[in-house]
Subunit: 250 residues, 2 copies
DNA sequence: CAAGCTTGTTGATGTAGCTCAATGTCTTTA
DNA sequence: TAAAGACATTGAGCTACATCAACAAGCTTG
């Protein structure tokens, strides 16, 4: 565990504002009217900065806020009783952190910033109160929760049924897609996480990730140097995931 | 796929009633006042019976209702593009089906009855409306969604970090616990699902499940004949899961 | 109750991905 | 800008689980 640096949360004096946020259309306020967004804005006192490597929260911390990622990149992970780590997700701009805490009023995972990041804390009890007044806000929250479930089921399918090459291809495609929706290139991006974190996420060892990267390179599907990704053959990559036989054949 | 029998949904003339339900305290109405439960009751027109092997819903069906399992046993599964099946969960009394559909208004998995079962359909749009009036109902729904996320993360940990014996032990313990909370024996129960379904759920082949059962038997932890389970050494079983080293050692 | 089907068990063999290890490269810090 | 630490790559060998196959035991149905 190299993530145990002291937690550094810098308060930002700037008032947060969903209305002017670049990821408004991907985040909790999606589809809300101007007036509704304004009311949601009143919940978010200020943005919070999280330094690379610092924890936004840790397993067992009491739930105070959900967090919308405004800028940067996070990983969430759960620990087994004997200390083994499973990365459960990577979150980027407009994605929500802390949904798993609603269940017990305590966060059920660790959320670590993979680069200097900024989040919008949304005090949960206030959010629930406001959501009573704003049906579409409540509906959005329900959808966000449900989306997370669907995502997790897709991951189960990956871990349960796909081989290493397929998992890595699926992972890269997923990143590519999400970055694209945020206005970034879908073919040219930078990995924010280590090989080890990717491995943990995909249920593989980091050495296997390295080897799978080599495979993709040999097949001229991806040019991956260090953390710089250039997708050379997007359809080819897609085919790798869809034709997901456990072993052999393509 | 042996689950493609014609879908048989028999309408039950009996009016559903949460108030008199045996799993009231485990289901959506948990913690609601009498009056609140009555209002929830008005949403549930009638119970629905689902024959063993029949589908309650299938991937892509439009979301109309969430379903509370009143009696019986279900499995949910997602299919990969190329037709591989991943079982995502087994649901028993008091557990909710269909939460994954809120995300897109379409069910994202198949729900198949593993024995003759009975569910309480809760029309989702009505539920959302009622939840505006009943904060605790809304809160319960949020919690249920969040719980599903936590459960899924636990499964990711299993598939990503635990070996076959540990996964099976974890699976049996989980069943044992849930049955116990419903007033059944935690040491003596019947599996409702095939070895293949267990395997799919745990990311293993059915042959591996058989062999792991043999291991548990050899270690005198469990007496498992066919689908009849007798847990002989509960602490021993627990230790098997907690000491979850990927290979070797205990 | 016999025949056929589904489900479960067990053995033999193969292999994908893990482990261990050596080495290289990039990043941080002093 | 040198040194240390973190991160990535690649090879060699091992092992847990998959695959294939044969058979046994329960259910189902005529």
């Amino acid at each position: 565990m190299s993530d145990s640096e002291p937690q550094l949360l810098h308060l930002h004096t700037l008032k947060a504002s969903c209305a002017s946020c670049s990821v408004l259309e991907l985040c909790l306020p999606i589809g809300l009217t101007g007036v509704e967004v304004e009311r949601l804005d009143t919940l978010i006192a200020q943005r919070v900065k999280v330094k690379k490597g610092a924890a936004l929260y840790r397993t067992g911390d009491p739930l105070r806020s959900l967090y919308a990622v405004r800028l940067g990149f996070f990983k969430t992970s759960v620990l087994s009783v004997d200390g083994r780590e499973q990365v459960t997700g990577f979150q980027m701009q407009g994605e929500m952190l802390g949904l798993d805490a609603i269940s017990t009023d305590h966060y059920a995972c660790n959320a670590i910033a993979l680069e200097d990041s900024e989040v919008c804390p949304i005090p949960f009890s206030n959010l629930e109160k406001l959501a009573r007044d704003l049906p579409s806000l409540q509906h959005n929250l329900n959808k966000l929760l449900s989306q997370e479930i669907v995502r997790d089921h897709d991951m189960l399918l990956m871990l349960g049924n796909m081989n290493a090459d397929e998992r890595l291809a699926g992972f890269l495609l997923n990143l590519s897609q999400r970055l694209n929706r945020r206005g970034y290139s879908s073919r040219d991006f930078v990995l924010r996480m280590s090989r080890e974190a990717i491995g943990s996420y995909l249920g593989l060892r980091l050495e296997t990730i390295c080897r799978c990267i080599a495979h993709l390179r040999e097949e001229n599907l991806v040019d991956l140097q260090g953390r710089n990704v250039k997708i050379l053959d997007l359809p080819g990559l897609r085919q790798k995931v869809t034709g997901c036989h456990r072993h052999t054949e393509l």
